[in-house]
Symmetry: C2
Subunit: 391 residues, 2 copies
């Protein structure tokens, strides 16, 4: 294979996502002084627009880090050393959050699942009722499991906690749903939301976010957990004028300024959600026609940003992905954890349009054929029919 | 419609074409002094690599102009005022060349055609035999007619001229074939070849080229046609050290340096030709399945860079193109001249891969459906079958 592949690489992993030209251009602007008035204006604009993205009137904190850092920030700002938390293990990313919490010395209780279904509120209720002494300080869930393509109902989880009058905070990972699937931090009474730059926000990785509640800020004030980089306190006072307590990732913030303008003002957040839902539905039309099984087994929980697909009996998902990469220059998501080699994931989020989705599904259909997998041809046609119908 | 369209625009006109990221990055480099040693090195490298593209050992001249300028350069350097030339009118661009030659005061004889077929060597022979006093100083043809998707056989045209021992020069427009369809300036004994930057070379418009023969240089030495900007003479002496007699388009030359490296060294010119032929064949599979007629009625003359398609009876090609643009953010070529509103043109040249071609054909299939044109669905599937088969 030659060094240069002709045409655009199809980056159809479920994030990092494709970046619009206008955002790439913004990323390439000359770096400015992060203590200047110009930067202060930029900081204020971006922090204010992030509130519109999270649908919150409370502060949004922004870190120069990957989203994993914002998980750590969420935990270390509201908890005390050795606190107990409850993690609902809906997939690989929920299990990674659990791993991180364990590393930090928290006492982690886990509700295990089969990774095919969303958070089951009844199981959560049961666990919280059993926690008679209310040791559990926080419930941690993933809104959209990037590893499985399963979206959980956050409002329902909040009600499940409230209904049993449990005081646990609700911490939610919205990394692969933010700015792609509707997310309402205030309305759903989430205490800490965790986001990242490299998915719906159409940026490279490198920025992460915490949206917070008043209760989370109170817990922060009482937290004795040792922290500095992730500390909301210093961040809050600097943010008031658009600045940061340490050097921010200036050029990513240039890009963020541009992508927030595109999403909020030029496209419109609801239009972004509708587009993602439409592309996901078209993708499922193709998958169903192919006769392949989706990882998500609950039709109410299909993700609008990623569709995880089981290969036909004994087919190697890694072989399929490798062939599609080498023949068609498209990256699909790998099967994570226990789904390794059994699952491939189609990312249909970020800066994507109908024709790139059609190209994506075409690459998969050709790959299935080259691998001689057992499937029914014509899934792409079904997806095109849907796109025309669901205009 | 919102100001920002999500995803990448599909620029599927037959040029300007999509530009690779590495070339865009090169175009954005800081401009340098065009009299510096650094520029001289750049100029020498680029002029030498252009010879490899044209397959010539003779000089290649480069102008800061659109390709239309290189037509004018070709005529004004080898002809004298009022000379007679013969133009074979294979389509809109041949007829535009005729228009330009007439503007310059040349006596233009024309072989008319139906715009559905390539240059017919027998008709050319007949015309040259009838030119008993050998008034015709040059025969002008278009290698690949961008308006019709018809490619002519240049070597056969040369033989037709030579066989009747006519001294006319052969001037060839290779604008939409260069670096996409095999072109052999020396081997085919072309006297002046005319090229541009915005097609197979994957650059923005703004650079044009003349490849020349020894005979063309001799004619240049005897030409009394008034010219300055287009004058090969001054250009030749400056080019020896990689410079130009007036300010060159420095940043386009940065881009050209990069695209020539990609084409010649990373991808390989023959691989580029093969890819274009494969994409054109896949496109024809779709068009045939749809039941639509191609403008090109000679199967030996199908273009590898553009496929021009007639809409079904009375269908408006402009309406189809408009719907595809507004719904799917894809630009297709308009029907030119007498084909206006009856023909749409699919550009499949430049920096294109299988999945973007699949997206392109998907957009057309959906557009045909939305327009309720009479056609058979499933053309995209046929194209995918071909791509898998013709790996």
């Amino acid at each position: 294979m030659s060094g240069h592949q002709p045409g655009r690489h199809f980056l159809q992993i479920p994030g990092p996502t494709n970046i619009p030209g206008a955002v790439l251009a913004a990323l390439a602007k000359p770096t400015i002084d992060h203590r200047s008035d110009e930067f202060g204006q930029l900081g204020l604009e971006v922090l204010s627009n992030l509130q519109r993205i999270f649908k919150t009137n409370k502060p949004v904190f922004m870190f120069p880090s990957s989203a994993t850092g914002a998980w750590e920030a969420a935990l270390t700002n509201v908890l005390n050393p050795g606190d107990s938390i409850l993690i609902y293990d809906t997939g690989y990313f929920a299990s990674q959050w659990r791993h991180l919490a364990t590393n930090l010395g928290f006492n982690v209780e886990v509700i295990e699942s089969d990774w095919h279904t969303p958070v089951n509120a009844a199981r959560l209720t049961e666990q919280l009722i059993n926690d008679r002494n209310q040791h559990i300080k926080a419930v941690c869930i993933v809104h959209n499991e990037t590893s499985t393509g399963v979206t959980s109902d956050v409002a329902k989880v909040r009600r499940a906690i409230d209904d049993v009058r449990h005081p646990a905070l609700l911490l939610v990972d919205t990394v692969s749903s933010l700015a792609s699937i509707d997310y309402q931090h205030d309305e759903w009474q989430v205490d800490v939301s965790v986001g990242g730059s490299q998915k719906g926000l159409m940026l490279p990785p490198g920025l992460s976010f915490n949206a917070v509640s008043d209760r989370a800020l109170k817990c922060h004030a009482n937290s004795q957990f040792p922290k500095s980089y992730w500390n909301w306190g210093e961040m809050l006072s600097h943010n008031k004028k658009g600045f940061f307590p340490y050097t921010p990732a200036t050029n990513l913030i240039f890009g963020l300024q541009e992508s927030l303008k595109l999403i909020l003002d030029e496209i419109g957040l609801q239009n972004v959600f509708n587009r993602h839902a439409r592309h996901a539905a078209a993708t499922r039309e193709a998958v169903r026609h192919w006769g392949l099984q989706m990882v998500c087994q609950d039709p109410t929980a299909f993700s609008s940003t990623v569709t995880a697909v089981m290969t036909p009996a004994n087919g190697s998902a890694n072989q399929l992905r490798q062939i599609i990469l080498s023949k068609f220059d498209m990256s699909l998501g790998t099967g994570l954890g226990k789904f390794n080699d059994r699952v491939f994931r189609i990312g249909h989020l970020g800066d994507l349009n109908d024709l790139s989705l059609a190209g994506t599904l075409s690459g998969i259909e050709m790959g299935l054929k080259i691998c001689s997998f057992s499937f029914r041809e014509g899934g792409v046609s079904k997806a095109l029919d849907y796109l025309v119908r669901a205009d």
